[in-house]
Subunit: 575 residues, 2 copies
């Protein structure tokens, strides 16, 4: 399958390129070694970017700056089974020896664009126009690819190396290879924080992990340590004392706030809000047909209490007035996390969400009563309740009130939904709105798929979570033990077990999930249960029945009924 995709990819490349030193297919196949990687997401993300059509992709994927030249070979650590071991391409003796000095002279389309990778020299001039990240690829011209690829593990796939091999023009001189190796190794992820060992890691660099489902539904408030983590870049090291938040685009000019000012100049508001990754439950879409993205289970969602200043208050302090809404429609967020080219993570939300008193958007500096942990945006992050995780920008550096949405890749060419009939040949990212509010969602956390229930237990307890975007309160969860033929209503919970339920939120401001539970007798005849859940919010939107009709090429918005199968074990020793 992988090989087939790979061949397909090569077929498509064929007619587009005029390789100067084309490697024969036999050489390609022996020159490339497969990774022993369990991380399907990297393959996925890469193919998204380097799919058959080139206009869409990850801006800045292969971008860099002068500083990058100080970066040496990156050696992936093998401390986790999820990590990726990169093998060097076997050298052939068919290529001329080229010096770094010579490589350095090829830094433009006119002079040719050359790069080095693990001792090989590649003329990628003709690839530049096809690079999903646009001409940012030129930042790597005349130098090494390794620092960029260390940041975006997405490149570490066999077909990327195959493509690269087609552009090979020479071998870097032994002396220059030695020099490169001498440059001190550094890993932009080396300062990432320690993580809780219970987390299921979907990707190590950047770090993406989710808690085990059964832990998730144990607590109404998810402990920060097991709150799902979705980073797009290395975790930045931010010094709280020198931290500054810049607010731009308002009549008052740029407002710059220290962390202390943010805490003292504005009243602290606290909300309990659930965040969910757009890719939560993507793995179910992958089972229908492969999609591009991290292979999340059902736990890319968590619930926390957030404390901070209201964005509305800060915008008012920076000069916001209703007049502004005549010319500005978006609030852009920029993170302090950045790639080697200096491109920061970015996203935007509609201005009316930001300034509405009932929008409850926070510039949060507390999570569950403590300073926000490094993985969740220390010292300040946006919390945009009811809105997809991707807009809740962490390590917040800048807020820009603007007529335009964020121009970031993640706002423009990612995190959007498409028809199941749309593929990478036909997708037009401009045709779909950026995901903001998420649709109704629920999943079963207990029992897990494939679990065994003893007949003697006589009943089964089913647990899960339910949540909806846009502040729409979950009002009912239906549970079926027979694949959706008959339904019963689960009991909802909006507080820790045993505690009094929280008062019902005002309409449109139900930011927190509900946990639910139902205990039902084991059906007498059944040998297996197909347990299904579906939730309803107060707009009476419901989850769609099945995955295929909502399948989309990015595998986002996976909110069909959740199903787990459970085997009933007849136990003759019991009455």
């Amino acid at each position: 399958m992988l090989l087939l995709r790979c061949c397909h990819s090569l077929t498509r490349f064929g007619p587009l390129n005029t390789q100067r030193h084309k490697v024969t297919p036999a050489v390609v196949s022996c020159a490339v070694r497969l990774w022993s990687s369990s991380s399907s997401e990297d393959r996925g993300s890469y193919q998204r970017s380097y799919g058959p059509r080139w206009r869409h992709g990850l801006a800045g994927l292969l971008a860099g700056s002068g500083a990058v030249l100080a970066y040496g070979l990156h050696h992936h650590k093998a401390e986790q089974q999820d990590s990726i071991t990169v093998q060097t391409i076997e050298k052939t003796s068919a290529f001329p020896i080229i010096s770094q000095e010579e490589v350095t002279t090829h830094r433009s389309l006119e002079d040719g664009v050359w790069v080095t990778y693990k001792g090989g020299v590649y003329d990628i001039t003709e690839f530049v126009a096809m690079h999903p990240g646009g001409d940012k690829i030129l930042l790597a011209a005349g130098g090494a690819l390794e620092p960029f690829w260390a940041l975006y593990a997405v490149h570490n796939q066999e077909h990327v190396l195959e493509m690269l091999s087609e552009y090979k023009v020479g071998e870097l001189s032994a002396e220059d290879v030695k020099k490169q190796k001498a440059i001190k190794t550094s890993d932009p992820y080396s300062t990432d924080p320690e993580r809780h060992p219970a987390l299921h890691i979907n990707n190590l660099k950047p770090f993406n992990a989710e808690p085990p489902p059964e832990l998730l539904s144990d607590s109404f408030i998810t402990p920060s340590a097991i709150f799902f983590k979705r980073n797009h870049l290395p975790v930045p090291q931010v010094d709280a004392a020198s931290y500054q938040l810049h607010v731009e685009g308002l009549p008052g000019g740029v407002l710059t706030l220290s962390l202390e000012e943010l805490k003292t100049r504005f009243p602290k508001h606290t909300i309990t809000a659930t965040l969910q990754c757009a890719g939560n439950r993507r793995s179910e879409m992958n089972k229908v047909k492969q999609v591009k993205g991290l292979n999340w289970g059902i736990a890319a969602i968590s619930n926390a209490t957030w404390g901070g200043a209201r964005l509305r208050d800060v915008l008012l302090a920076a000069g916001y007035s209703p007049d502004v809404a005549q010319r500005a429609f978006h609030v852009q967020f920029e993170g302090l996390d950045k790639d080697v080219s200096g491109t920061t993570y970015g996203a935007s939300i509609p201005l009316n969400k930001a300034v509405n008193e009932e929008g409850d958007v926070l510039l949060a500096y507390e999570m569950n009563g403590q300073d926000i942990p490094a993985d969740h945006g220390y010292p300040v992050r946006a919390v945009v309740p009811g809105t997809v995780g991707a807009r809740n920008v962490k390590w917040l550096g800048k807020i820009i009130v603007s007529a335009e949405e964020s121009t970031s890749h993640w706002q423009q060419n990612d995190y959007k939904g498409f028809s199941p009939g749309t593929d990478w040949d036909t997708v037009d990212f401009k045709s779909a709105p950026a995901i903001q509010e998420l649709p109704i969602q629920s999943a079963i956390t207990v029992p897990t798929d494939g679990a065994v229930v003893d007949r003697s237990s006589e009943e089964v307890t089913v647990k899960g979570y339910a949540w909806s975007g846009g502040g729409r309160e979950v009002v009912r969860v239906d549970v079926s033990l027979d694949g959706g033929k008959t339904w019963q209503v689960a009991q909802l919970r909006s507080s820790e077990k045993g505690q009094a339920p929280e008062p019902s939120p005002p309409p449109g401001r139900a930011w927190a999930w509900k946990l639910w539970e139902v205990t039902a007798p084991l059906p007498a005849e059944a040998q297996e249960l197909e347990i299904v859940c579906k939730a309803v919010d107060n707009s009476y939107n419901m989850q769609p029945d099945t995955v295929p009709p909502i399948w989309n090429l990015r595998g986002v918005l996976s909110n069909a009924w959740h199903r787990v199968k459970v085997v009933i074990r007849e136990d003759n020793n019991e009455e």
Copy 2:
């Protein structure tokens, strides 16, 4: 089936009652004649109210006042095939003759509660506790049932008469029957306006009708004459010159506005908004399992331009300030349409929808640039965009800012959604929120189910509408010709055909539907097409796949994928 339900009903009654003069089953069956009615909604509604459990039902169903005594026998007009012909119960000679004078002395639980109906006298004392409308039934005590039943055709069903027959205690004296007949007949619906003959009538009294689907998608703005009509009561005759709107519950005391004041004291706002009945597409639920309510097709939805004062502005003029929101959470509307007991139609919406600048709630006096027609609320109605039709109260008489929702039947015990597993034995109306925002919806208007397409036409054009509640903009409609296996994206339209599209509405304020269209080649092999549509809004909520899992006992919120089957006719005369 009908008979089965009827027997079931009798079975359940049995143990609850101690009939004084119990009629034998044989007498019951011969004493009762079936109606020749095509209106399933009346049967449905009645059963809703008089189902096996008695705590829920139509408040004021059997209520009245002194004035009611002036009302004589009601004779349903037979001018439409939908009208109901009521047959009299055959008299038996087993009962004593009782005078009206004697009946009149039984007007309380202590003295017994007697009523007359078509010459029979009934002691319904024991039924009072079971009456869904509560003790309002006592308003009819000592008098005739006919005026109440004339208003609520829901009573005109065989099993209601069966129930009544169980309570029979005598025959009204011939002289008193004559007196009753002498009272001038009057029909509360006789002043209802003329209607467009194209409308499909689902119920005549009160008037409920929808346009033919193919007309619906011809116009982005639905002409008022064919805009779907959903009345709960007779259309009131309102004199514009003496019309008064009362606004209560605010610090300024009661504000009373004439129509002229409403038009001149407040700026006129215009919005284009789609209204949809909660029961739209109920007929599809009825095919799964019978539900209670009008058997709407797919056209209980229409789109109009509404002009009027903003409710927000009127509430501010009446003394609204944010402080009010600390104690009040709802805005109740009372219509001027009323039943014989004086009970008016009523509903409420959340206060924050009413006062939010972006809520766009209007006190509308114009529809499509003209005075609002009588059927749509002349002279003033509430237009609550994004919200179920039932809250868009017509013939608006009173607005009450309150800590409580409207106590009306339609807010409390109707227009709510339940699990498919909930039946009339288990339903608890308090357990579900009143429908406000509606979920994502779409339907196919062209072709209609069962249509024939000639093979020679080579392609098929599919048209329809799509809309979502809560101001969520429809962003995509997927259409399938093969029952949902493969999908294509339809073209959306937000203006009249040939006109420039309206600018995109601000987020959360997309009140108008989108019309859509797709033309696709006829699949070569197919002999039949199962055309399916499903829409997506900008919260990325999607329609559920199938009807059974969203079935609910009231048949509301019917928004599964819409499906029509079309036959392809091979035509050998054509190439």
